[in-house]
């Protein structure tokens, strides 16, 4: 558990995860990256055949955060896993951030340029069609 700036950063699976870590660091919210794995289905013999490892755990907030930048239409599998997780571990609080949620966060913080870069680097479509649109002006919404 540490702020990213105080430790060697983990190897994030996606740029969006690194960006979320920076947001959490900025607001001094401690986090761990994929610290726990929750088994969610088992074979008849009792072997774990499916598990779910949320991207972040925020210990002070006792909250797991799973971030997905997949297109909305492709998150069904993740939704199913999350549903199982909640059924099996009702005491575990998990917040799923969809692509639209992450996008809104970036809009709020004036980080549309990051969305553009992320699309270029990863090609997985922050807005689902491979481009974040035009007019990304990088202005921060200084609320």
């Amino acid at each position: 558990m540490a702020l990213l700036s105080e430790t060697l950063p983990p190897r994030f699976a996606h740029d969006s995860e690194a960006e979320l870590a920076r947001v959490l660091d900025f607001y001094q919210v401690s986090w761990r990256y994929e610290p726990d794995v929750f088994p969610i289905s088992w074979s008849p013999a009792g072997a774990v055949i499916e598990s779910f490892a949320p991207d972040f755990y925020l210990p002070e907030l006792e909250l797991y955060v799973e971030l997905t930048t997949l297109r909305q239409a492709l998150v069904r599998k993740k939704n199913r896993k999350l549903r199982l997780l909640r059924q099996l571990y009702p005491e575990v609080r998990v917040k799923l951030l969809y692509a639209r949620d992450f996008r809104a966060l970036m809009v709020k913080y004036g980080r549309l340029a990051f969305l553009l870069e992320m699309n270029g680097a990863n090609g997985n479509g922050a807005n689902g069609n491979g481009a974040p649109g035009h007019g990304a002006n990088g202005k921060a919404a200084a609320r």
Partner: protein, 192 residues
Amino acid sequence: MSEATATTIHADVQEVLLTEDQIQARVAELGAQLNADFAGLEPVLISVLKGSIVFLADLVRSMELPLSIDIMEVSSYGAATETSGQVRILKDLSNPIEGRHVIVVEDIIDTGLTLNYLLRYLREKGPASLRICCLLDKPARRLTEIPIDYVGFTIPDRFVVGYGLDYGERYRNLPYVGVLRPSVYGLDNPEA
């Protein structure tokens, strides 16, 4: 939505979420509630720049209690030139709040990250009590579990401007709260 408001909608606003009349009525209710809850006390209302100043201005004028006002400003992620930095107090309290009954006045609470930081900071100052009054609550975005004592409106997960809320420092002066057209911030289809 009144006809007068409908005819003056900003071109960048997709729809009016809360009219001026709705806001004023609710602010008056919040003021009355605060009057009752803080009767006999002299609270200090702390506004967090910049978005909440319009709300604060209306809220205090709906309150009859003896009260004081203080202003804070904290840096925002993304607004800093370096995103690797940490949140900073840009404008600190002008007066001590130790032993005072504090009401934090916020324009909108979404992730709650800024407020979470601010509350930790204010608690260290030793207030007698610490309450939160926000005009807009957007719970769909919440990452932190912060009990909000006074909520003006719970709103859907839309990007809103007006009544102090901005995008790129614009639209703060709109008298209503409206949903900004996604094309303004470069997303043609935010639901995709």
